[in-house]
Symmetry: C2
Subunit: 640 residues, 2 copies
């Protein structure tokens, strides 16, 4: 048996990249992972670059020149369908936000127009959402009561919407989509579920026809308020409400059974509103104690830019409302735009969408609109109705304009109980039990994150529930980073491959050699853990086999999966080497990646451990370990 | 050429582990990575288990029975050496904390005794530290002035020390050493450097003999205070101070040049104090305007347990001081104990050390001591003086007891300028320029974290500087997790290995096949990024080679390095598969690890993508891709 070091693959010890090159690469990965300006690099003519730039920043210039009548037919139908949904939703959600109902109609006129100009998604339908409406009502309501001072309340809501738009635009311009990514799907599922539960229970006020209610928003307070005001229950309200609710739920059931009948559930809220108006008008329902919406004047959006209130005593609540709703609205809107785009195998630029939402809300706050985004229900209807471009939003806006100019007073007869039934039906659809069960089955921590949001929102408060859920998600992030998984590698039978011995129990170790695969990254927060873990692996090896001949003499650290290391990590590797040397154990490093190799060279770790101890693959390292003097006596055991 | 699927290694699709097994494994990794109770599992007799438990929790019972005279000789010498350092350091740092100097002597009597009973490190020497002394002075000083109400100030310092002990004990019992890990080495280097700079500049008050000074602690205010009070400068003070400083720095220089003369720099502070006392006594220095320490009464530590002040108006400052100093003292003490243990190839149990420090501070707060930990300078002297066990701390305590009983009044003649010179000399040694330069060379982000601490402490405030540094370190943690490095794999020349094409430029891709290695983990915060990055890789491949034949038809995702995935990650993989399917690109998964495979099975991803698309190694996947109909026409290009 030759005692020379067998030939093995060449490890690359070349000079590391310059700091400038590394920084540029990291910045690009962090902020421009999709490389959005790639299309500009290939252009030669200046005119084409300018044209492409305009199309990039104002997407309507990209699809409008290619627009034709055929596309318009689809968009017209989709636009009318979502307009029929926009009217009842607009009025209902405005009531949820404690705003005059006409604000809800205004919010489906101007914002969709802005989105059609700047937005990227072909399917997204713009409108108000229940969760953010309630959040705004809660947050602004802490400071100003909508009953005592409705004008101030309204102006503060516009101001909060303005801040929402500012935050969203800044996030989009600074390409900080990474922050919105931290609102994970389990968090949103839990938050929306909890909010939907809350809103459903609050609608019982409208169904039962109560006048007195609680301002608190947790489940216990709401249920108590319903039962304490039992004497105010009105059976007429209850009957009408239940009939509407059953009708709406039936149309949803129909949609699930026969997907091509989706349009029935889409126009159902409008039907409920129209029937309710007629009933209230002809039956003089207001004399029978069925409350109606009231106050829906004709006319388009008045300007509200002079009403924005930046008074320092209200700034904390408006900024808070603006920031929280900005992030939630972005998380929902961008995710929804993306998921529908994927169904059509298209891509949506998340950062550009954020800018579009931001502009939508800024201009909306100037024109008496409040927070809008891309709600799931409306977008789904838009998609199923066959929209082809954002023109459907323009069509919806035009329908809304006609409603505001001519039809608005008609809707003032809408009974509140009808609105409650519409909201309840929509909210019941938002509690995604199937998804929650799926989380429970696949990943218990994600289930915990989801339930923290759900229960926090339902029993404590909306922002506390959201914070608890995000907090748990951040704890998970830190745990991932602080406890990277390591495993012991063994050689698989009849193969040259080395794999995790726990995952492939048939794989066996080589006597005297302990091969470990380390998880990524190795840095200050997990260096101590990694060192202790490696020493424990060695202890366990020595404990298991009490045979003198099998005591560990070589430790091979496979760094194939380690993509980053910092100075503390390098110091820890140096310490590990020292400790092993004192135990007469030789350390070998396998396949260090680019960033790790650069740091190892710069810190002279490579010189300390020796280039001959760094290998490109585990097979080379194992071979080399067999050829060192201390293990020569073992050779016959392996090569039998 | 056969069109059958060639045989390849068997992937393990076995039933996943139960939730209980996974949870137990994760909890063990998080809280018990060093498996401290392993020694108990092998014991049969109950008596031996009890004995081992007592030795585990009260370490003195482990080393004391084996103690002998030979060890005692070493410990006696080391103990006397560190006692000679403890007296000047104790008096100086107590002045730094605006406390009566005798408190510094008390703090080197009781706490070392407690540590000797409960501590694990053989080399750690217990004493007060400059940084925490200043931090306590700042924090308590925000609420109570030590000039106006010295008694209350003193009682609050004892209370803060009590809370420090409580926090440290709780962290140790709950095995939350993970929190202390987040105070990384760059953070500590920067924080200590900034604090040392601050303290050095503050000592100029003592050197110049000023009476009036600023209470602010940033560099600008301190320099301004020195120059504004120019009329108070006393040349006698300056001359004496500079002589002492030059002497102390010379002994340090001697230690660096001839390490075996370390004891010279160890007794140098004591020499300065004794010379200063004699000079002040015989030259009646106090009449020449050289201030002396004063007020050092005889007698041991009085009990202070009844003086602990839990009044709610002071609780915020005492809790804040307690918490911040707890974490800093732990980070420093445990790290120092560990690094010296490593030099002797021993291990220190971090969590047990934390409990020892906690008990030390709790008992200290009952006996008129303030915050103590294991300072680097004292421990280094102890180590170099040849200590063998924690008995050196007991020897130091006994020396301190003799000093308190007989010698204390002598030290009341110590000139303040001598103390200032001692502190300045110690602090100059704490500014680790070599380490800062090393950080700059190896890892620029770590350098930034260090400088944020340094500059923040020096120019803003101690806690703001610390927060900035830790904040940057947490941002780095989040960036690691949010942007895991991916790379393209290529086949190396003359080898079957696939490696990063950027690190090994000689490696080439297979036509039509794009092999990517993903970084770990894949979860909600980076799912969007990973999807966009993969699509960009495909775009770049198609852009680079405009040849029709080389357009990407297979994407192989190597998940060897991916140790964790959550539900959002699984959903993203499903989305990626859909997107690729629409582009007629086939997706293959390579070597999914244990946790990832379990989630893929539970979420039915394995069924969606098909077991035949999951391979154990990249070579199998590449072979299989060559045998699919769409790439058959390429076969001849590879097998030429």
């Amino acid at each position: 048996m030759s005692t020379e070091n067998p030939t093995h693959n060449e490890v690359n010890f070349a000079t590391p990249r310059s700091f400038g090159a590394t920084l540029k690469s990291h910045l690009k990965e962090t902020f421009f992972p999709d490389d959005p300006f790639r299309q500009f690099r290939n252009e030669k003519s200046c005119g084409r670059v300018v044209k492409k730039a305009v199309q990039y920043f104002i997407p309507i210039f990209e699809w409008l020149p290619n627009y034709n009548l055929r596309l318009f037919r689809f968009d017209l139908l989709a636009g009318i369908t979502i307009a029929s949904l926009a009217i009842p939703q607009g009025i209902s959600y405005a009531k949820l936000a404690n705003l005059p109902p006409v604000i809800g109609l205004y919010s489906s006129f101007v914002p969709p127009l802005i989105y059609a100009v700047f937005g990227n998604s072909k399917h997204l339908a713009v409108g108000t959402v229940a969760a953010c409406s309630l959040l705004i009502a809660n947050t602004i309501g802490e400071k100003v009561s909508f009953k005592d001072d409705p004008t101030l309340y309204l102006h503060l809501v516009f101001t909060a919407t303005f801040f929402t738009g500012i935050f969203q635009t800044i996030l989009g311009l600074l390409r900080l989509g990474i922050l919105v990514d931290f609102l994970s799907h389990p968090t949103i599922t839990g938050f929306m579920g909890g909010t939907a539960t809350l809103i459903c229970l609050q609608q019982l006020k409208g169904i039962f026809g109560l006048k007195h209610f609680t301002t608190k928003t947790d489940v216990v307070s709401v249920l108590r308020a319903i039962f304490e005001n039992r004497d105010e229950w009105r059976w007429q309200s209850v009957v009408v409400g239940i009939i509407f609710l059953i009708f709406l739920q039936f149309t949803r059931f129909l949609k699930r059974k026969r997907p091509n009948l989706f349009w029935v559930s889409a126009i159902a809220p409008m039907v409920v509103v129209v029937v309710g108006c007629l009933f209230a008008y002809f039956a003089h329902a207001d004399k029978h104690g069925i409350q109606i919406v009231g106050h829906l004047n004709k006319g388009l959006n008045p300007l509200s830019i002079e009403h924005l209130n930046f008074n320092s005593q209200y700034l904390p609540v408006t900024l808070k409302a603006g920031l929280i709703t900005a992030i939630i609205a972005l998380a929902e809107g961008v995710a929804i735009g993306r998921s529908f785009a994927i169904m059509k195998n298209e891509q949506v630029d998340g950062n550009k969408e954020m800018i579009a939402f931001g502009l939508m809300n800024i201009v909306g706050s100037f024109t008496s609109c409040y927070l809008t985004t891309g709600p799931f229900s409306k977008t789904a209807v838009n998609f199923n109705a066959g929209c082809r471009t954002a023109m459907s939003n323009i069509v919806m806006a035009i329908c809304m304009m006609l409603t505001l100019l001519f039809l608005a007073p008609f809707f003032s007869y809408t009974p509140l109980v009808a609105l409650s039934a519409i909201i309840m039906s929509a909210m019941l659809g938002l509690i995604d039990c199937k998804e929650i069960y799926h989380l429970f089955k696949v990943d218990k921590f994600d289930f915990l994150i989801c339930m923290a949001g759900f229960i926090g929102v339902a029993f404590i408060s909306m922002d506390n529930g959201l914070m608890m859920s995000i907090g748990l998600a951040l704890v998970r992030t830190i745990l991932y980073a602080a406890r990277p998984t390591t495993c012991k590698l063994g050689k698989m039978q009849d193969s040259y491959l080395y794999r995790d011995t726990e995952q492939y129990p048939g794989s066996t170790g080589v006597p005297g050699v302990l091969a470990l695969q380390l998880g990524s990254p190795i840095y200050f927060a997990n260096s101590n853990y990694i060192r202790e873990r490696i020493l424990r692996w060695i202890q366990e090896e020595d404990d298991v086999v009490n045979d003198e001949e099998s005591v560990v003499e070589h430790v091979l650290l496979d760094l194939s999966g380690v993509t980053s290391i910092d100075t503390t990590g390098i110091e820890t590797l140096i310490e590990i080497r020292k400790i092993l040397e004192a135990k007469s154990i030789k350390l070998s490093i396998i396949n260090p990646r680019l960033d790790v190799m650069e740091k190892m060279i710069r810190s002279h770790f490579v010189d300390k451990v020796g280039k001959e101890s760094i290998f490109l693959c585990i097979e080379d390292a194992v071979e080399a370990s067999l050829f060192t003097p201390s293990t020569q006596k073992k050779q016959h055991q392996v090569f039998v």
